[in-house]
């Protein structure tokens, strides 16, 4: 199994380690609920070094990315990041990604750990420009600092930038402990925070500094368990659950990053056809009305229980919302807010209804 540069730190902190897409990763340290709550109320630290880093460089980098991704890359400027996706020709999602424009000839793509190698091969195979595509996943570590106190924690460690003035989906290149880092105002928890890209050999130093310095802010190291419950409350999709090659970007609710008018890109034709015909199914949020917890793969039926209308993509009972909730891909006729559904949980039918997404939205602080 692969290990991140922080493996020894996780063991030292008493983390419970699990296999995640071939990576030996911490699923929890002190406990999922305590970690989840720390991120909602104070600040949490996540090792996300398993995520992939792919660079697209050269004079034709923009042209290459406009073809390979569905969002409008030309809208980016230096220091701006963008949520986007690599689509296949059917409009399915090869991976969801963040594109960072360092300058007009250097773009960084942050991709999912489980897809990094596949994405890299896909991008090389479908690049018909002179742009250079480089997989630097093993050379970079990544630490996510998330929560209402994240900026307070990180800002004093950065000398040459005022981190509080870096807006959401913007980033700066700077230094922490003399080591070059990229700090982006992004995250996967529904809270304010940053994601810090660090060279692999310096990740442990930065991690330890953040933990030490964060003690007075109530920082907790957080594992994949809390990461999953946090992102689900915020209704952020996860590849392999809400997103996949067999689910089109429009079906999974990514229509807002699909720019059909930007010129040709992989998947555009299929999505144009689907958009004019109407999507057959949609991603919805649901809440269970009776006791139980729905999980990925559970069948969704109409209230009578004999017609299958969809499938659960993620489900749990989460700490902040404290209700059994989930997301499901459901036939469009059954997607209206408030629509009654039934979910088959371990052989038993449980009543559910469609609710608005996200389940949790942070209050904006002024």
């Amino acid at each position: 199994m692969k290990r991140t540069p922080l493996y020894e730190e996780h063991i030292r902190l008493g983390a419970k380690m699990v296999d995640f897409a071939g990576w030996e990763m911490p699923v929890q340290y002190s406990g999922v609920i305590a970690e989840h709550t720390a991120v909602r109320e104070a600040v949490g630290l996540f090792d996300v070094s398993h995520m992939g880093e792919i660079w697209v460089t050269g004079p034709e980098a923009l042209a290459a990315l406009e073809h390979l991704t569905c969002n409008k890359v030309a809208a980016l400027y230096d220091g701006k990041a963008q949520y986007s996706a690599l689509l296949n020709h059917q409009g399915g999602v090869v991976d969801d990604i963040i594109v960072y424009r360092v300058n007009s000839e250097r773009y960084l793509l942050c991709v999912n750990a489980s897809n990094a190698e596949k994405d890299f091969e896909w991008m090389k195979a479908h690049n018909h420009t002179s742009a250079k595509i480089t997989n630097e996943s093993s050379e970079w570590g990544q630490i996510a600092v998330q929560g209402p106190r994240a900026i307070e924690l990180v800002a004093p460690l950065v000398r040459d930038h005022d981190l509080s003035s870096v807006k959401s989906f913007h980033f700066v290149e700077t230094e922490i402990l003399g080591s070059s880092v990229i700090i982006a105002r992004t995250g996967y928890t529904g809270e304010d925070g940053v994601e810090i890209f660090v060279r692999a050999n310096n990740v442990a130093n930065v991690w330890c500094l953040l933990l030490e310095h964060g003690a007075s802010y109530g920082v907790l190291p957080c594992g994949l368990g809390a990461r999953d419950s946090l992102r689900l409350e915020a209704a952020l999709p996860l590849h392999g659950h809400e997103l996949g090659e067999e689910i089109t970007a429009l079906e999974s609710g990514l229509g807002w990053i699909v720019k059909l008018d930007k010129g040709d890109f992989i998947g555009r034709k299929a999505l144009e056809v689907q958009k004019s015909a109407g999507v057959p199914r949609k991603l919805v949020g649901f809440a269970l009305d009776d006791a139980g917890i729905a999980r990925q793969g559970d069948r969704v039926t109409d209230t009578v229980g004999n017609t299958e209308v969809g499938v659960v993509t993620s489900g749990t009972k989460t700490p902040t919302v404290n209700k059994a909730i989930g997301m499901a891909l459901v036939a469009s006729a059954h997607c209206a807010l408030g629509a009654n559904l039934s979910v088959t949980v371990r052989g038993r039918s449980i009543r559910a209804h469609v609710v608005p997404l996200p389940f949790y939205k942070r209050e904006k602080r002024h």
């Binding site: 419970k16 699923v27 929890q28 406990g31 999922v32 609920i33 305590a34 989840h36 368990g225 999953d228 419950s229 006791a291 139980g292 917890i293 999980r295 749990t316 009972k317 989460t318 700490p319 059994a324 371990r346």
Partner: protein, 126 residues
């Protein structure tokens, strides 16, 4: 990790404490630690007949659902209703407030056949 003396244990990480003819059943400190924070317990119905190693109930963490097996054959006489509102009792007090069910109609020889605290600790390598 605590494994109280006087309790009996199973390979499936349940414990039994005898109260007269009734067997109080729960999961061990090791089991709750492996499962992580519990957020839901699908309690068995009172009156349910259970078999040794048969399904007693299901406990769920944020991540996954896990079966709890009955350590003994018998009938569910009572369930711990407090778990409906506070499944975390199992994490915080697995041997006391976090009990799951009380079984009646059990066989003493079945109880005698379960592991002692020493044997269970040896199984865990502790």
């Amino acid at each position: 990790m605590d494994f109280p003396e006087g309790y009996k244990y199973t390979r499936d990480h349940e414990w039994v404490r005898m109260e007269g003819d009734t067997a109080v059943v729960g999961i061990t400190a090791f089991a709750q630690s492996e499962l992580g924070d519990l957020v839901f317990v699908d309690l068995p119905h009172e009156g349910k007949t259970v078999t040794a190693h048969g399904n007693l109930c299901v406990v769920e963490s944020t991540k996954a659902a896990s079966d709890v097996y009955s350590p003994l054959a018998g009938k569910v006489e009572a369930v711990n209703q407090a778990l409906a509102d506070d499944p975390g009792l199992i994490n915080r007090a697995p041997y006391t407030d976090g009990w799951i069910a009380k079984l009646s109609g059990i066989s003493e020889s079945d109880v005698a056949g379960l592991m002692s605290a020493q044997e269970y600790k040896a199984l865990l390598g502790k």
